[in-house]
Symmetry: D3
Subunit: 335 residues, 6 copies
Amino acid sequence: MIIDAHAHLVAPDSLYAFRALLLADGGYHGIDPKISDDALTEAAAGNVAIMDSVGTDLQLLSPRPFHLGSSMQPSRMLAPWVRANNDTIARTVALHPTRFAGVGALPLSPDEPVLVGFDELERIDELGFAGVLINPDLHEGRGNTPALGDRYWYPLYEKLVERDLPIHIHSAGCYSGRETYSEHFVTEESIAILSLLRSDVFTHFPTLRIMISHGGGSVPYQIGRWQSEALHPSLGGSPDAERFETALRRFWFDSVLHHPLSLELLLRTVGADRVLFGTEKPGSGSALNPDTGRDFDDIKPVIEGLAFLSEAEKQAVFEDNARTVFPKLKNHEAR
Amino acid sequence: MIIDAHAHLVAPDSLYAFRALLLADGGYHGIDPKISDDALTEAAAGNVAIMDSVGTDLQLLSPRPFHLGSSMQPSRMLAPWVRANNDTIARTVALHPTRFAGVGALPLSPDEPVLVGFDELERIDELGFAGVLINPDLHEGRGNTPALGDRYWYPLYEKLVERDLPIHIHSAGCYSGRETYSEHFVTEESIAILSLLRSDVFTHFPTLRIMISHGGGSVPYQIGRWQSEALHPSLGGSPDAERFETALRRFWFDSVLHHPLSLELLLRTVGADRVLFGTEKPGSGSALNPDTGRDFDDIKPVIEGLAFLSEAEKQAVFEDNARTVFPKLKNHEAR
Amino acid sequence: MIIDAHAHLVAPDSLYAFRALLLADGGYHGIDPKISDDALTEAAAGNVAIMDSVGTDLQLLSPRPFHLGSSMQPSRMLAPWVRANNDTIARTVALHPTRFAGVGALPLSPDEPVLVGFDELERIDELGFAGVLINPDLHEGRGNTPALGDRYWYPLYEKLVERDLPIHIHSAGCYSGRETYSEHFVTEESIAILSLLRSDVFTHFPTLRIMISHGGGSVPYQIGRWQSEALHPSLGGSPDAERFETALRRFWFDSVLHHPLSLELLLRTVGADRVLFGTEKPGSGSALNPDTGRDFDDIKPVIEGLAFLSEAEKQAVFEDNARTVFPKLKNHEAR
Amino acid sequence: MIIDAHAHLVAPDSLYAFRALLLADGGYHGIDPKISDDALTEAAAGNVAIMDSVGTDLQLLSPRPFHLGSSMQPSRMLAPWVRANNDTIARTVALHPTRFAGVGALPLSPDEPVLVGFDELERIDELGFAGVLINPDLHEGRGNTPALGDRYWYPLYEKLVERDLPIHIHSAGCYSGRETYSEHFVTEESIAILSLLRSDVFTHFPTLRIMISHGGGSVPYQIGRWQSEALHPSLGGSPDAERFETALRRFWFDSVLHHPLSLELLLRTVGADRVLFGTEKPGSGSALNPDTGRDFDDIKPVIEGLAFLSEAEKQAVFEDNARTVFPKLKNHEAR
Amino acid sequence: MIIDAHAHLVAPDSLYAFRALLLADGGYHGIDPKISDDALTEAAAGNVAIMDSVGTDLQLLSPRPFHLGSSMQPSRMLAPWVRANNDTIARTVALHPTRFAGVGALPLSPDEPVLVGFDELERIDELGFAGVLINPDLHEGRGNTPALGDRYWYPLYEKLVERDLPIHIHSAGCYSGRETYSEHFVTEESIAILSLLRSDVFTHFPTLRIMISHGGGSVPYQIGRWQSEALHPSLGGSPDAERFETALRRFWFDSVLHHPLSLELLLRTVGADRVLFGTEKPGSGSALNPDTGRDFDDIKPVIEGLAFLSEAEKQAVFEDNARTVFPKLKNHEAR
Amino acid sequence: MIIDAHAHLVAPDSLYAFRALLLADGGYHGIDPKISDDALTEAAAGNVAIMDSVGTDLQLLSPRPFHLGSSMQPSRMLAPWVRANNDTIARTVALHPTRFAGVGALPLSPDEPVLVGFDELERIDELGFAGVLINPDLHEGRGNTPALGDRYWYPLYEKLVERDLPIHIHSAGCYSGRETYSEHFVTEESIAILSLLRSDVFTHFPTLRIMISHGGGSVPYQIGRWQSEALHPSLGGSPDAERFETALRRFWFDSVLHHPLSLELLLRTVGADRVLFGTEKPGSGSALNPDTGRDFDDIKPVIEGLAFLSEAEKQAVFEDNARTVFPKLKNHEAR
């Protein structure tokens, strides 16, 4: 069975028109989104067709991250917008319960404690979601959100451990004027890994499960830099310190990389037991690769073709690791 | 001959004590640094010994980037500090003219035009420096410097092209509270590449030569993402657009990666004609790798051991590419 | 013939989904909106049906003001968004050229000169628009845009006079946390009138034509206050000054008031030759008035029922004044 | 008996010279104002003469609002300044106890809790004041004070209900650069009404009495807009919601409008039982109206001439409503 | 003849009430001050009586500095306020032309070029003023005005030299929360001296005459510190540099010190040819000194009693130096 | 015995290179300073030689104040830097226990409570330090630290009284662009005195001992101004108030003035029992005075030559007062 651990909601225009309305009226009027069953059914069917075309059995659906808008002001617009996304996911899952599972977002907002997201967290847990999508840069490139190693995030970690929900790390928009949102994804994934490893989060929350998007940003590629730092006395390290490559395996990573060499580097560096098949399809990788005749994000054949992986390792990547990280997937029976 | 295209000044404490003095007095008193010949001779000799121990013939010496302090306020402290660094490099080169060549910094400052660096640029050109080190994030993590594709930088590009001086891209400090300076290096290198490729800088300055530090940040690893974007109509791309992997080869990259798999990915992705041997040694990679018994930054043996590279390619990496990018190296005769 | 001088575009969700996309990607990707002919045809037909139901022959269509987003940052999102609105209006007018005429918006942005709107101004003039909609509070409640009497606006006035295009004053969103956008409309209309009358704009641009929305905000109701101030030496006035009620008649006003007593006060105060029939229908007045059994914004019967107006005055309000203010309406033949 | 519910202190220059002194010395020296009995007696007598000339028996005297200076920084200047105003009112009332009653101000300051005004509130209550003047925009046009519906104000409402003191809503200065203080009065009165009706303040404080200045700003004139919104599902309303015109009658309004049509609209819209005679005389309405030969603010004859009002209604406007809103007037016996 | 080179306007309350009015209405209404001839005559006569009581023949009158309000926002309030002060001085001088001469203020404003003061400068020169009072801290303790050595001030120096008008340095209010205005006077006088001596102002404007208030702030007392710095190589000085005590004599100083030991230190340090008799009486020194039975600011007897001064030196201090610095005093004949 | 109550650490370059390193890496890596015993021994011996040359027996050594960096951001750099200074002092004292005693700094930081300095305070007390050096302007010229009279400082005063440790007031750097750090010293000493005397600190902490640097800034010289203010009713004073010259004697002052007239004024004004011998040598006064052939800061002969002082008074200045203020000096036996 092929589980795509990183995919985003395919929704009708009316969902995004709702966001535009919220932004326009500043959230004063407290109006609900209007997404018709017909439009939603059509959108979901389109996505299932894409899945079928590339052989995906089950997708973990989260909101489109670049649409999350964590830094929207006034922040009262955030809760209805996030709720609208999660609800649309829940309706989509309900339409195809064996093909989709939900990963929900939370209305976390810059300069507010993480507690503001707890109501929605409880709500989506009750709706049967399998995990939460966390944007580590709530300022979306316009300020300095405390990094994930900061105590700011502890109440959320505690809550997630308590409810056995994993985190999918994925940044949202970026308005710095220096990076596009897509570039920012990579930056934020790297910061997420490195700030968490500099902290004692895993000491306090040893059972917390975190999946980093897009193959871990820059970290697997730049690993030599961090291996040395960990052992370097002039950089606060020590020859006796835990090796960085060991510490790095506290995380899981998805395979949204679109390039065979990168996938190979990732799998060799963190191990096949730490990589989840993910495509983000349809999405930014859905352009035709002229060299292969397939979309860049059609990476199932690429992984299947990696000779250095055993069948058991491929099975782990395609299915088992996802079940380890997202145990609530058991509620979504295979077709 | 082995040319290390990315190395930083080894200087006595008195250089850094001078920075502390500048910061303390706010630059009011206009005092010069006091770095004795003896101390400098000892520091330089130490570095030569390290080079000998790993087989480096010639190093391109630039100021320690994390000490650059581009965002120091009041900004009048910047010019004397940068000058002190460049002067110490010039003195070091003068002590060992066949072992060192200079790559100078400029006193560019946030919220000031690049013209403020021109006096120093002319000065170091006259001192025989082979290139300039540019920090693309003058705010050092505390603001939004225009990205390298912005017109802000054009007068500098024009000047560098005119004087046939290449750029070594290397960010400096980082005070965002989210990234260490070392993590920020990777972020900034990625932004540098992507912002330049989104711009028309290479159209206006086709002869501008730019070397990106640390193997290009995250870009070679995340290349699939950018390959797809370039061809993706929904992301402003087009199936007929220039391929990203082609565009990427407008840059040169140094080999400061410290890990064999990463070096391999870099060389396969951008080509051996675009990679310059670089170690940043002594530096953050100078910790002992327990797996090899050598420091992480002792990567000459690693490159020599890459079976997929021809001898001509290795010669390109170790020497020829450096001579292409830094033609003024011809003034530094081999021993 | 009944001309509704104040009405807004009825557009499909896909227009607003485009705004959400722009906001999400920060305008980096330069993508065009996707509004299908079918969806647009359906939306336009719906509006024509509404017009027929209340007896309107011709509507002046402008973008939905609360969706204008003048203060969006980064401001590069503004131009494509405004263009998308104007284009959708132009397509709607093209579908029903005898029922609609266009009033376009400009991508004016806080802290940028009005020149940034000139390209779009020329474009919509060439597209045959009859006027421009100006939001006098470009900061949308989050800053202090120069009031309309300020020299900031002069280049725009000059351009509009040159092209014989009138201004429809209508503020956009409001994010102050103190007013809803709807409350802010009234505030901004009042500021527009009073700042212009405190300035010498009409001395410099005697042929500039300005229509104030919603019956002039608070000004006709609070007129006694301003009549006294104009004549009051302790407030900078003079017994010999121009009477305020005279000065006020430099403007035109639309009849979007939804209440008979208010309409009567407006017409008696500024004169029937200065009031244009306007309904903003469908819009915020489109709720059923239980007292009349008609929508609040169905005000044609109310005006028809005002006994103190002559037939000629009613004709002026319903059609002639609109033709005076918007002479380019002559391009839209009556059915 | 004619009670003028909205009038401001007529004080000698020495009161305002004290404000200038406070501003100049930043409030450091803790000096008291020096207002001689002679000067005060003369000022008060002048006001009594004006009252006699227009037939006013009793005035409710509050500080000149545009002199209140709520946003003065450092805020320590505020308390002595407000106290000086209230004390001068108390002295004036003591000179003519049957002609004046006091409405006091509080030293509320932006970014400080309303508690900072409680000492002065208790003090003026003990001095026998009949109500308090509240400026709802403590930032005076330079920031976003929480609107009156916000919990920020609740401790004050609680305290006022406890002491049975009504609120007179009247903004103070305005330094936005867009509105004069006088224009800002109208804006703030409108915001006050609408923010309170959007909130649940009257649910929590059903006995709170609030008088809005200047005939309610723009609200009675724009009432159709709000009637529709309350019933409009797309704006958060409902056909079953309380009618806006009903809700509006939770407030009282003064008659400071200076124009017969406006007075008529006000009285017909909110009812004669909700309007208090008020003139703000001498003040900004004290210019000669060339059409009547009387000052604009001499409106007693205007109200007396409104044929649609019964005698009982006129009596309510001229006296009874004031006694309902300000019950402590009973301490000021008629002459 | 006794000339008091440092005294401030004694004005009626109505002048300061005008400032309060400006602050309250934000300067919108453009109203003029109302200072009656009677009140002004009484105030001036009071001051003459004080002068007679301590033996002063002629006073140089400038506006009360702590009332100057340089940092008032919006800055449009500044020009009418400064003009009102200068006009009141001119009227006072006109009343007693042999007892008073004017030193005028300029409406310089933070963040605006000094050019904004030129109209008033020309006006007071034409009115016959003898000098200008300059507040070197236009931000009044809330920001960093360029110090007097900065090029910011050059256009003003040029203008003053051209018109042969001297500068009286005297800071205004202080709202830092750390210093009272009175403490700030001393700080600013010290900064004025030291920043000018660090600059090349006297090289460019060798004929510029500057009088520093209050005996030069801290500088004469702390002179050893600056003498050493000038000669200290580690502080940017040089053993061959001009001696500080020589450089210091480029300034003139007034004698507003109120203490015999301080006066002695001043006179011995800068020389009797550089000190002008000044009392600032009536002012902050006008309290009774229990030890002498005279006010602290009655310092004529103190200076007369200084045994180390020759009669010629006393004559210089009491009259001649004032005539050197303020040559236009010749227009004010002795009585 | 000659005790120099105001002297600063003479340290090797490596101490200041450590500060530069902290600034460069933002304090992330938590590295310790590397100051070799040899270098420190040499530096200390150099200082002892200077002491011997001018006859000083014992110096109170504190960190170089202009190097303190209180306003460094991020503030986490402050604690290791201050600790490095205090540790270097402790090592220096340990090398010459009869010649040096320590006065330590605390890592107080702008916008943080004084509690952040308590750990270091306890640590240096246990290390045997004799007092603490307090910088009253934690913002170093870039903001408004609460003045010393503010409640902000109370917890620190309480702690110091409890441990019987005196305060040495000495400001640090200054980055206002208006004052050099050296000029700022004088400003801050004056503010310290005046803000404390305006407060009730000495009422709450009658046993708190405070030594003001550099002869009390400007206060002894400007004393007449403050004597008058204290007795002046219009300035908040009273003829019955405590005399300023009495209040001033609550402080102690050091003799770092470098000029005989100033020393005389100080001693006559505050009394010989309130002045401690101090030289700040080697330091900014260590330039050769051409008039005396001795350094400006060699002031022992100056004091010895003051004829108006008795021998007992000189003994007090040279030794006894220091023992009163710093009782823990008893732990440092004389040689």
